[in-house]
Symmetry: C2
Subunit: 408 residues, 2 copies
């Protein structure tokens, strides 16, 4: 069985905060422990990079050929990967077998609670969405009042009772985990789905922006990038921040509330009580206010109107893009990231106003931090939070591949 993650776990590296000094490794790290770590390394590699030959695994993981062969055979026997002769052998001699994650068999549940909709996906090992269901969410519905609808979405997934599938766990992305302090949402999902028993992989929760950042960092536009600032636009703006290859969470998981940096002390009043928060100058409310559009209008409608030449929409878009660049410049001076990724509805705002964003950045960010900086629209689009949720749901399996998975 997969040991259930702690309920309410937030997205982030599995390592605990630095203890001074770090505890040394057990004096007798057994062969079993080393095998477990090596199995995890092989499974994680193919999960992240896709089908990989034994030869490449040997060179990438620094293990010898026969060890890789044994590990791959163990993973095949457990039903987590398949091994196949490559369809195109490039060189003479016996081709190296290709190790492929069994995406259709091994999956995680990923759920997102967004302001206007609920989504549930089955994500296969390897990070591919196998099935996706969505339903509307009445604005303002309390988190726990969405549970019945979420369960209905999960139960509506195609399911062949005879199929030999296994579920590695589940995770739910919420816009602000601060509103779910006690992990009430994953606990309620576990209760409704019967995954609350200790021997069943249960649900965990993560912040929407953090999970989307994790997805783009693992297999999206920022794959392999160590210092990444991911900006997620929804009603407001929040950030998933990766520094030195690690997602930061802050003292209580509240880091990344960048929408409440005050950028304009003489600006508009924010729901938080401050004046001139980045949200009020560059968020959805700012775009609608500037465009004269009624509350509730989709920000994408304004972006489209601007593309069609609507003057008010274009002025609104460029005004917001300028403030977007303003806040990005401040964060770039603080973090010195390699890449800033725009996600959620900021993906379209950035795409339409990129020149304005860059112009503001070039006047405000320090040269040393902006010279090598890349600005990018997210590659995974609206699926990023679901794919990121699956990453944390798969974590136990990737850490200890043979310690069982339960039939799904």
């Amino acid at each position: 069985m997969v040991a259930p993650l702690r309920r309410g776990l937030r997205a982030g590296p599995a390592t605990p905060p630095d203890q001074n000094p770090p505890a040394p490794p057990p004096a007798a790290a057994g062969q079993e422990e080393i095998r477990r770590q090596n199995l995890g390394a092989v499974l994680r590699y193919v999960h992240v990079h896709g089908p990989t030959s034994r030869a490449e695994l040997t060179s990438r993981l620094g293990l010898n050929r026969s060890t890789i062969g044994t590990l791959a055979a163990d993973l095949v026997a457990s039903g987590l990967v398949s091994e196949d002769v490559p369809t195109t052998a490039r060189r003479a001699g016996r081709p190296s077998l290709v190790v492929t994650p069994r995406s259709e068999r091994v999956y995680a549940h990923a759920v997102s609670i967004e302001p206007h909709r609920l989504r549930a996906a089955r994500v296969g090992l390897g990070g591919h969405i196998l099935h996706l269901r969505e339903s509307p969410r009445a604005p303002g519905t309390a988190l726990l009042d969405t549970i019945d609808d979420l369960v209905a979405l999960l139960r509506a997934m195609p399911h062949d009772p005879g199929a030999d599938t296994v579920c590695a766990g589940g995770a739910v992305a919420v816009a602000d985990t601060a509103r779910d302090e006690d992990g009430a949402v994953p606990a309620a999902l576990d209760a409704a789905l019967g995954t609350a028993e200790p021997d069943r992989p249960g649900f965990v929760a993560g912040d929407m922006a953090d999970l989307a950042a994790l997805a783009e960092h693992t297999r999206g536009v920022a794959a392999g990038i160590a210092d990444l600032l991911y900006l997620y636009g929804d009603v407001g703006i929040s950030a998933g921040i990766v520094t030195g290859g690690r997602l930061i969470t802050g003292h209580d998981g509240h880091s990344g509330k960048v929408g409440h940096m005050v950028v304009n002390p003489h600006g508009h009043r924010c729901v938080c009580g401050s004046r001139g928060c980045w949200d009020t100058e560059a968020g959805t409310t700012a775009l609608l206010r500037r465009a004269g559009a009624p509350a509730g209008t989709s920000p994408l409608a304004v972006v489209r109107a601007a593309a069609l030449g609507g003057t008010a929409a274009r002025d609104a878009l460029y005004g917001v893009a300028d403030w977007l660049g303003f806040g990005v410049a401040n964060l770039v001076n603080v973090f010195n990231p390699d890449v800033v990724v725009f996600g959620g509805n900021l993906r379209e705002v950035y795409a339409a106003g990129a020149a304005t964003v860059r112009r503001r950045l070039d006047t405000m960010a320090l040269p040393a931090s902006r010279e090598h900086l890349q600005l990018r629209a997210g590659a995974l689009g609206a699926d990023a939070p679901l794919i990121g949720a699956a990453e944390i749901a798969f974590e136990n399996l990737l850490t200890d591949p043979l310690n069982g998975v339960v039939a799904g």
Copy 2:
């Protein structure tokens, strides 16, 4: 010998950026490697925590009693620690020997290049400053033009040629490592001091705020705190940022340039070209401008004048403290730290204006992030950058204690 650290290394965790997937440990991690790690864990523990009984080391490090005894004996034999019968035995029975770092014998060189002075210290294992020398620096002197004076300070340290001392390495704190891109300063110190040979522990460089943050995190007011924002005030304001127990550095080591966040779009022109940077509203120039003091006045003179009841000085101090709180609030919303530490000349500004800083924070920081937040003046004062420099200078020794140290 201590393997020299890479020249120009910036302060920061020794771990490389996350590679996806992490390489597994070597399949046959030898007993020697485990012994090396355990020796490092014992030496690091007493370096950070001071004299510690074998019994406490046994429980803190999770190793058995006889292993601790062997490790301690090896460290004694190498001259890195001493073992003594405790002066006050609290319980009946044979007392547990106390392991103490040999601070007077094993030391590191720590150097800081500050705007108005140069300092050099010999810091003993355990983090105590043994000797400290300083000389003035003419404002604007180029970094490399300070080398001769630094070398003179280092050579002026008391030195008993017959004493059995060993030097573990050296580190230099500079206000902005961006100005020393190629590690020119540590390389020049190595050349002048004869520490450039591969078998001698050489100098490394780190950012002033980063090193001060590391010192307060290791043995100061934020000891053991995982999420720490350290604000260092000098001519401007910069930050050393620890999240999840790790110092962040950004893509090229330029993170923490918080003084160039724009907080007031209608504010004063900054040397960086922007308008209303945090530096221009809450830094030294802001305090002097508001107080009507001539450029070059020490900001501490304004703080003292305010304490004596000078109206202009008090107005200046409270005005600056309000903008200080403004920027702290923004950073608290971004990072959600446990503690904000004020260092450099911000230590005195904060101490005198704490109520104003806190009031601004209470109106602008989100409740979830400010409720448990502590604001603190640095405990190590002006010595923090030197103590932090010694931390990175000792790093090789703490990682591999028995791999030699050269006579100092």
